[in-house]
Subunit: 351 residues, 4 copies
């Protein structure tokens, strides 16, 4: 790593799971160096005291969020809950800093829709149009030129990649899509809540948010963009007793029964042929979430049970990697003209 070409990285909100996940990958990134990590709660603490996995890899302490320091970074990641990034964004963009926001603040273009689902006014609706939705498989060119990238949520990443070729090619009824999705518990973040205790979650399974989950409008916006018209999705998230991993089981009705499964399989393979992080499995496969644990890949499989008209697409990602921090680094790589794979080459830990 040559000193003169190192990308200086800042991270706002480094104590959560997406924060440590950024660090896990960035400390081995050949062209980036993390120079500042902020945390109000843990200011002054060594980062590796909170995350001993980083001992020997990172010699830095949590610092108070400070705009001047962040502005000296080449890129700043927000690994914060919603309603943080949007308050600092006007000043950061003004200063010319490039930003990758992992939070929900800039994912929804319509600020009224955002407010409806997030329960408060948006702090800077005028900036929403400057945010590029950071799904590289759809928006790579725009990401390259963006100053602000809004990383997709984990469920939306998994669902959109799974349905992409079908909607781009107008093969299914876009008014009757069903996304039955499951997530590991790390998706709930590192917050002290009884509901997420080991003794509450372990050896059990449940749905949640069936009446309405904040990722629904993002999914419908993203799929609508892909389809070129409004779509309607029934979205049912569930909690799995595992730490990482997200699995979406997607149901779509073929509009033309004559299309064959082989044709659809082939369509998927072609669509993602050049994508470094989307892997279409052989026909008949059932991807396991552990096959992407710790890795930035999305693995897909397409089925047509009993040769009827309901397609079933299976899509797995690691919710913390392709669903969050890995995709954020992928976006940074694209924005800065680096190798898109840089820092993202580790193999999934299996078993």
């Amino acid at each position: 790593m040559e000193e003169n070409c190192v990308v200086k990285v800042g991270i706002v909100g480094g104590t959560g799971y997406t924060g440590v996940e950024l660090l896990r990958m960035l400390v081995n990134h050949p062209e980036a160096e993390v120079v500042v990590i902020t945390s109000r709660a843990e200011e002054g603490l060594r980062v590796d005291a909170l995350y001993p996995s980083l001992r020997g890899h990172l010699n830095i302490r949590f610092s108070h969020p400070n705009l001047d320091v962040l502005a000296q970074c080449d890129v700043v990641f927000f690994a914060t809950p919603h309603n943080v990034a949007m308050n600092l964004m006007p000043q950061l963009l003004e200063l010319g800093t490039r930003v990758v926001d992992l939070s929900a603040d800039f994912r929804i273009r319509d600020h009224k829709l955002w407010s409806k689902w997030y329960g408060e006014p948006h702090a800077c609706p005028e900036l929403l149009s400057r945010a590029v939705y950071g799904l590289p498989e759809v928006n790579r060119a725009a990401i390259r030129d963006a100053q602000l990238v809004a990383c997709p949520g984990c469920y939306p990443t998994s669902v959109q990649l799974g349905l992409l070729p079908l909607l781009e090619n107008n093969l299914v009824d876009e008014q009757r899509l069903i996304a039955n999705a499951t997530s590991g518990v790390s998706g709930a973040g590192r917050q002290a809540k009884i509901d997420n205790l080991f003794a509450e979650v372990s050896d059990s399974f449940k749905a949640y948010g069936i009446p309405g989950h904040r990722h629904l409008p993002e999914i419908e916006q993203g799929l609508g963009d892909i389809a070129g018209r409004e779509v309607s999705v029934t979205f049912a998230p569930h909690l799995v007793p595992m730490v990482r991993g997200m699995h979406s089981t997607l149901y779509a009705e073929l509009t033309d029964s004559a299309v064959t499964l082989e044709e659809i399989q082939s369509l998927y393979e072609q669509r993602f042929e050049d994508e470094p992080f989307v892997d279409v499995l052989p026909a008949g496969s059932h991807p396991q979430t552990r096959s992407v644990r710790g890795a930035n890949h999305c693995r897909l499989a397409i089925h047509r049970p009993q040769d009827r008209d309901t397609l079933v697409v299976l899509s797995v990602i690691d919710n913390l990697v392709k669903g969050a921090s890995g995709q954020a680094i992928q976006n940074m790589n694209i924005m800065l003209g680096l190798d898109e794979n840089a820092g993202l080459t580790t193999v999934a830990v299996m078993p």
Copy 2:
């Protein structure tokens, strides 16, 4: 317990999980006594040597399967893989023994359909019509008079109970039903398979059998009976890294948008009002599988997301209890005129 009224119980195939689960409940059944448990592989071994949880509760050894001994029982349970019960059934029925079969041998009325899914001819198709499908919430009267009860599979139990009121009342499109179901690993039985090793299953999630699962024809037969016409179900089973528990997320399209969620909630509550083991949760609930861990209950919740026309019904059971051994004992209680709750009063273990 008076000696003179004790029901003598035999169990064929006592080493598997449904076998030990029968024992767990029967040793505390006020009117039944297990007098014989067979196992070819473990003949002669004390049952509590294999299952130390039973130490102090049961003083018996595995014996070789023996028709004469079984015939002296008041009721015989088959806790065997498919293709065992059907070979002994002609003789047992001839001898007048009452049988509760937990296997798949007598679940499908059409022997050709059975053969298609189970890959071999049925050994006694002439007896299929004498088997009563043991879903008490549908067939209680017939079970009371049956000599042979075929206990439903775990998935079919969970799916049928969840969709029952909708199909009985012709409220949804019976051609577009979707059953997205998840099961704990005990559903795969106590067999030495690499796929079910802890190191393979833990901290991961996957679908399986999407192209076709043996419970699909049973589900469609059962729902068809309820609806009074043919139904079509897309059935997608998944494996959850937990020992017990089954969760079905059921999607159905309302045929009449004017029906309200309140009306449907009310319909479910009325339908199951007198059912001892079906519990309709308050509107807006998300049942957890642990709420039925070790108990014979099915808990249901009904949703109508975004007030659109796709209903989402959530249904949880313990796959080894209401999905197998508990329902088998419930059927025995009904067949023998005992209190339907006998032996089934334990509360779910939570946490």
Copy 3:
């Protein structure tokens, strides 16, 4: 159950895991009825809204703690953190109420020692001598006559039962005892702490409290009583990624090498022969915690590796049952002259 002989039970602090565990067993207790459950935080809420596993078993709401109401109970359980029971105890005992305290308030006889480990003065040191330490295998007679029983902690129960025969018979060096113990996460209670989140605990293992754990003085007091002199224990607790279960691996140096393992095995079997809830496994066994999951048993196995002088005793309990609520009910049964097994007959859930 005859109405006139039903034991009226009150529970203070019903929202935690030991609270719901008392309920799980008491709703099936043939001679007890829970008439009041208090919770400041959840006052007014139906108990089965918090614990759906109890739906259909219990028709009661959490109420504000009220001395008058509690005083009308035949027995009151405290399922509270330490420092609650001792503040109500003077009045309750004055009113003649019988109390089973699951907390730590009355376990240590020496109030200075208690204060050292619990960090605050004891509220009623004068009552400590009236508390009977509720380990039935040691103190059954005293429990029978007690008005106040202090239930042992989970680790102390497991360790004391495992070492009991060795210390009673003066067979090992009581100055060099080692208790290496592991607990499921439910032992940490139902409190919102980051350390106990699923994503923190799952798929990992760690020791904690090695410099000093509050159960150490209780263990040394209890073992000292058994040995008839002071003992010294190195106590190392660990956290296992499982919900329930406690396993102690106990190391003790034989003072006389001539004693054989067979003699020790025989000694254990005799000592616990009449104990309903202590089970000495055959020589060479390795008890699993799941063999007591949900049950009130302690299972023990004794080893003498390589025929050297270090004995290894394995001891398993369910930390919430024999380690807390089950033992509390056992104590209640003894105090009230009921069948000691009443309410405690359920078989461990395995698998």
Copy 4:
């Protein structure tokens, strides 16, 4: 990576967990390339069909074990059960191939002792003296010159690193050592055994092998070498419901009470100061196995509870990495004069 300096690697027995773990790390090793992986059972199958985590990283099939092909490798790893490597070793060594054996075949110098514990004669006792025991922290110089390195077992690695400074400095009673160790289930390998099924292992904890485990003689040999005299260890392994991770809790009696914990802490820090993969945590720490999940580190913490004379050392590794495949690669790096960290830089996956 320059083609001309790439190390050609062969792996015998590539289907097990240590095999795939070698692959996970070697595909990102800057100077090594895996050119052959053998498996009798899976001959002809693409490696990434068995392990989809490797899709896109490795384009190779399992091949039949073939001495000629192996002999063309710069280094051959044996990731096999015991009793495989020793049968091929005479020929391989004759051909000049360098070998890193992950199995137990060459760990014990005394072939009679080996036979006693492994139950069969050793195939080539004359080669035992040529094997270097591959614990780099003890034998780095000898490894550098070795043709055959016998990688330590997982438990022996964890135990020896934990006790090393104490025995080197003669600080504790080497006749009364206790190693209470726990392992994740992957340690049992990828074999179809009922005992290792998810439904058997999950949510439970047990000891095993207390009467005698094959790692005991290896531990005593290794610690004896370090101490310079015979040692006696009570070794108690346990199974934890987690996939990876090994935690040893080590008990040792100080021979001189005057030595302080601070002095011992300092001794450990100095001893391992230059070791790239041994990390001494700050005093008072409790290392978690997840802090090394997927990484080649051993993390240690030293305690002296209650300031008594029993030291407690906590030692964690990933059983598949520092306990097997990572240490094997570390040994290869040393043997071939490569950077010792090469291929071993990934950060532990946490959470």
